[in-house]
């Protein structure tokens, strides 16, 4: 027989192609994680009702402790609105920088300073904290946490109601737990 099978060449080519397409797997994983966190914050902005006196001007979301999340929010959720308010984002590196925001997100790396953070917040701010674990539940109004690989949230309704925030029904219904 003069003709020979050609298949052995196949794998080399496919391996070359596939190896070129999987450079830095962690970056997209990180980006998707940040987007999910951003999606939840956006849902909180849309499904929590602030007292009417805070419904004018821009809707400011402050991020404390996660520059990556801030960058994703600033790119992905740019020009989004809640009600009639345009959503804007700000990043804080220290508690002293925390300004007059509607919603403040504190990343899990910074939960140790929650008490300090709470001192500088005014009535207007809905505090959202990322938890490493539900047992570390904070006195924030909403806690974001991972349960079985899924990002979920815990509502602290009594804490939210102290500041006259009204939590929407959908948000309440779909919460992982409510305190």
């Amino acid at each position: 027989m003069t003709r020979r099978f050609k298949i052995p060449l196949l794998f080399g080519l496919f391996l070359l192609i596939t190896s070129l397409t999987i450079v830095s797997q962690t970056d997209p994983a990180k980006a998707s994680r940040m987007k999910m966190q951003g999606m939840y914050l956006y849902q909180f902005a849309k499904n929590v009702y602030w007292p009417s006196e805070y419904n004018t001007g821009d809707f400011l979301i402050g991020i404390y402790g996660s520059k990556d999340l801030f960058n994703v929010l600033n790119n992905t959720f740019k020009d989004k609105v809640t009600g009639s308010q345009k959503i804007v984002f700000d990043f804080y590196e220290s508690t002293s920088e925390i300004a007059d925001c509607h919603l403040l997100f504190v990343s899990k790396e910074e939960t140790s300073v929650i008490t300090k953070v709470k001192k500088v917040l005014d009535q207007k701010t809905l505090l959202v904290t990322e938890l490493t674990d539900i047992s570390n539940s904070t006195s924030s109004m909403i806690n974001l946490l991972y349960v079985n690989s899924r990002l979920k949230y815990q509502l602290n309704k009594s804490e939210a109601e102290k500041n006259n925030f009204k939590i929407g029904q959908t948000l309440t219904k779909l919460a992982y737990s409510t305190i």
Binding site: T2, I22, T26
Partner: protein
Amino acid sequence: MSFFKKILSTVLIFGVFSNIFSQSTYCPEKMLLLQKYKSKEYENARGYIDTVLSQCPDQIQDAYFWHVCGFINLDVFKYVENKEAGSPTKAKAADCFIKSINLDIEKKYFDLNNKLIDYVSTFYYNDAVKILQKFDTKNQENALSYYNSFKKLKEISNPDYDFREKEVDFNFGIGMLYKMRYEKDKTNNKSLLDSCINYLNKSLEIDSDQYSANYNLGIMYHNLGVDIIMEELDIDADLEMVILMQEQAVNYFSKSLPFLKKVYQMKPQETSIVQGIAAVYYSLNDMEKHVEYMNILKELESNSGE
């Protein structure tokens, strides 16, 4: 002169005599056909096939006639059509050899017919592989058709042939073509993804240790999870949809892990696998495991830099 040519010369000489002295009716058209073929007028010879059949109907039952018809078609395919992949002539050649085998009670041409069927089958196989090698997604259906023709003929020429190795390779190759087509337009080609996964799984059903299929499924499932969140999840989606799509993404992340773990066992020094596993653990929020594999990755990278 090739192996087949040498044999054919003998067969032709034998055929001329057998035709003259056989009990079957003398068929001048058949003599002309043989003459044309001997003088390498392949197209003309082919043209005489139908004439012989209409003028000498007893040839329909003649194993030798079909054997020669096979040669004629095969040479048209080789020398006139320049072995064109889509040519139906090689199929005709194979059909003639098969007919010859079926009529050849004395098995005079059996071995040669079998070798020639095998020879034709190889063209089909190589044409199928060429499509895969060129990532010629437009001709994917042809690759399948060629491969099936290869199998059909090979089963005739070599009934005990073990297709396992080729099935593994071919299913993997087709799966990768589906993957490429899907990646060209992820939104509109979603159905191709299922086909891709099916073919890669078919490959693994035959050989569960096949590295490339395991590796690609592992990476693909993770990327699918990421794509759901990054590309399919609309930022204005309602909360129910966010939760639902996260669920789908996590399912994909979970599916990815066993495949990547398997290839990690095969190639523990391969950084792209370690990087993939670290990414999957990150996506599954298993930070302890993520850090463990990131440390392995760092170690591998520092060792390779030494």
